[in-house]
């Protein structure tokens, strides 16, 4: 019983992390068709901000967490302005390759300016303690992560439903030009998309850092690889799909960890990716396909 509960918690917290990152990828993709591979470096920006905070002896957890999230958001918006604006209306391949380039530049800048070695960050250890729960012990960190993700998803739904900018972002996924023809500034929509994706990456960064306790230039690479897969599973560009894909991937990963024999431990990733490839053969466009033009004329 305790084992099952623990594995469910594991699946939820893995899934929450992937969902947060996948949402950030999906919101940018839905608006500008960009597969933002540099998303992982945004997470690293958050991580290095925590290092900087520690160096400045700012150890108040609220300040550290706030600064990391803020830095990630600013980083994402800056990338949009500097690197992604020239390829804004380009085809997805051009965008994807640009994002690869940006990712390589940032990773190497961390290496060059900070250090190739991991740097320990201890200010988030307080997030982790066992919580007794009807006779079971649950990790507080996993609980926080799951709850935070649910709150974030609800807030985002409200934003997309209730605010003009949110409506514009949903509409832009179908017909960006028409959104501009209602007088909404394109720059604002793009900036908002990157701001949101940066905030989500920043929140995910806090939990990743709390779990790992250190940052290195490749901090975000593996999580974003998984988030990328989650997006594809859910249907690239679909926001609900990204959330579903994230949690599904978390469940698959935990299932693989539990079900695969010890001797195959190193193959978890291969099995996860393999099952995703199979899923794509069954449904090439993912579980939820993004909305397409339903008007009379293109």
């Amino acid at each position: 019983m305790e084992f099952v509960a623990q594995q469910i918690m594991n699946a939820l917290s893995f899934g929450a992390e992937y969902a947060l990152l996948a949402l950030g990828l999906a919101i940018v993709f839905s608006i500008m068709g960009l597969v933002n591979f540099a998303h992982g470096e945004i997470i690293a920006v958050g991580g290095y901000t925590m290092v900087a905070m520690a160096a400045l002896s700012l150890n108040n957890p609220l300040i550290v967490v706030g600064a990391a999230i803020l830095a990630a958001a600013i980083g994402a918006v800056t990338l949009e302005r500097v690197a992604f604006r020239p390829v804004r209306y380009a085809d997805p391949t051009t965008g994807l390759l640009t994002a690869f380039g940006v990712s390589i530049v940032l990773q190497n800048l961390f290496l060059l300016l900070v250090s190739p070695r991991p740097i320990a960050v201890t200010s988030l250890y307080f997030l982790e303690w066992p919580i007794p729960f009807v006779g079971l012990r649950i990790s507080s960190l996993q609980l926080f992560e799951t709850i935070t993700t649910i709150i974030v998803i609800v807030v985002m739904m409200l934003f997309l439903k209730r605010t003009v900018l949110g409506l514009a972002m949903r509409a832009a996924a179908l017909d960006f030009e028409m959104v501009r023809l209602t007088g909404i500034k394109a720059n604002r929509v793009f900036a908002a998309a990157f701001l949101i994706s940066g905030l989500l990456a920043g929140i995910a960064c806090v939990f990743i850092m709390a779990r790992r306790g250190s940052v290195d230039p490749h901090l975000g690479f593996d999580p974003v690889l998984m988030a990328f897969v989650a997006c594809v599973v859910g249907g690239f560009g679909s926001l609900p799909g990204a959330v579903i894909g994230g949690f599904l991937l978390g469940a698959i990963e935990v299932a693989m960890l539990v079900l695969l024999p010890q001797s195959l431990g190193g193959m978890t990733e291969a099995f996860v990716f393999g099952s995703i490839a199979l899923l794509l053969i069954w449904r090439p466009d993912g579980i939820l396909t993004p909305p397409r033009e339903k008007g009379d004329k293109q």
């Binding site: 051009t94 690869f100 380039g101 940006v102 190193g266 794509l280």
Partner: protein
């Protein structure tokens, strides 16, 4: 056999490129130091990879991220076949299926490696060619990750991140030049063949091409398998020269490096593939020298680890922003000397 106008032009173009390759290789052979020879050899292997990549990406216009994995499959398959039994008893003491109990000559090993890669490519290709755009790219990414995991996991066969050593070093720079020259003709020949033309047409407009009776999936599969076979050749050339391989060079860093070469030169043309490879190979060597903190004119410069990565990434970003078609765009080398008559 009669050649069409564009095929004749292709023959001229490929011959010009071959001439350039032979020239660079000959200069390196006669004037290069041992270290420089190694670098030039490395750039010819990169060239094979980039040419192979061009076959699929340039004609089918689908971004492939798994090419380094296929190069690795070719390299490991050949290495396992060709390495002497005595050597394998030391390096792969617990290999299954009697893999450490036989050894073949380099040519047979190479043929087997190519066949194995082609079969794996065919199986994966059957799935991959049915997907479009981003879907195909993500499956190629999954292939890269899965193959790499296998290399790392089956240490009894592949030795993982440790060196697989003892491969006979049967290749010289001359062998690499000959292979690269043949590859240029093959790749250009495919581009100008009726399959290549139909595939490029279908990439521009899949629906019209399908309406004209072009079987897009079959053509993509053809390009995919050809591309993977050439990648296997590149992998074999890599292992036959170095004598030592490990899993690390067949992963993301290599994927990005070769991708950058192709898009810098321009993925739509063979000339672009050659140009991009040499610019980045030799350019990066120069940046790596700067990276180590050299002394220039009596001035000691600091060590800047990561500079080569920053330069490589910036090149990709700038090319995409300023010239998404790469340096060459749609032009091949012969367009500069032959008249453009319709």
């Amino acid at each position: 056999m009669t050649l069409s106008r564009s095929q004749k032009r292709g023959l001229v173009g490929a011959s010009l490129l071959a001439l350039v390759l032979i020239l660079i290789g000959t200069i390196a052979t006669y004037f290069g130091s041992k270290y420089q020879l190694r670098i030039v050899y490395g750039s010819y292997v990169s060239l094979m990879v980039v040419l192979a990549l061009q076959v699929f990406m340039g004609n089918a216009r689908i971004t492939n991220l798994s090419h380094s994995a296929f190069m690795g499959i070719g390299a490991y398959a050949a290495a396992i076949c060709v390495t002497p039994i005595a050597m394998k008893k030391i390096s792969l003491p617990s290999a299954p299926w009697g893999l450490n109990a036989f050894a073949l000559d380099p040519v047979t090993s190479g043929v087997i490696a190519i066949a194995i890669t082609a079969i794996i490519a065919l199986l994966i290709g059957l799935i991959l060619v049915r997907l479009s755009g981003i879907g195909a790219t993500i499956v190629s990414l999954a292939v890269l990750v899965i193959v790499h995991s296998l290399f790392l996991y089956r240490t009894d066969i592949f030795k993982g991140n440790q060196a697989f050593f003892g491969i006979p070093q049967v290749f010289t720079l001359t062998s690499a030049i000959i292979i690269a020259v043949i590859m240029v003709y093959v790749v250009r020949g495919f581009k100008e063949s009726r399959w290549g033309i139909a595939l490029r047409a279908s990439a521009d407009d899949e629906i019209s091409a399908a309406a004209m009776g072009v079987n897009v999936h079959r053509l993509r599969l053809l390009a995919w398998v050809l591309s993977c076979v050439l990648l296997a050749v590149a992998g074999i050339a890599y292992s036959y020269y170095l004598g030592t391989i490990s899993a690390r060079p067949f992963y993301f860093n290599h994927v990005f490096l070769t991708l950058a070469m192709l898009i810098l030169g321009g993925m739509r043309t063979v000339t672009g593939a050659v140009l991009g490879t040499f610019i980045i190979s030799f350019g990066l060597e120069w940046v790596r020298w700067l990276e180590t903190g050299p002394t220039i004119l009596g001035q000691k410069f600091p060590e800047v680890l990561g500079l080569s990565g920053v330069v490589l990434g910036s090149v990709i970003v700038l090319i995409m922003a300023l010239r998404p078609g790469g340096i060459m765009g749609d032009r091949e080398i012969e367009d500069f000397i032959l008249k453009n008559t319709e």
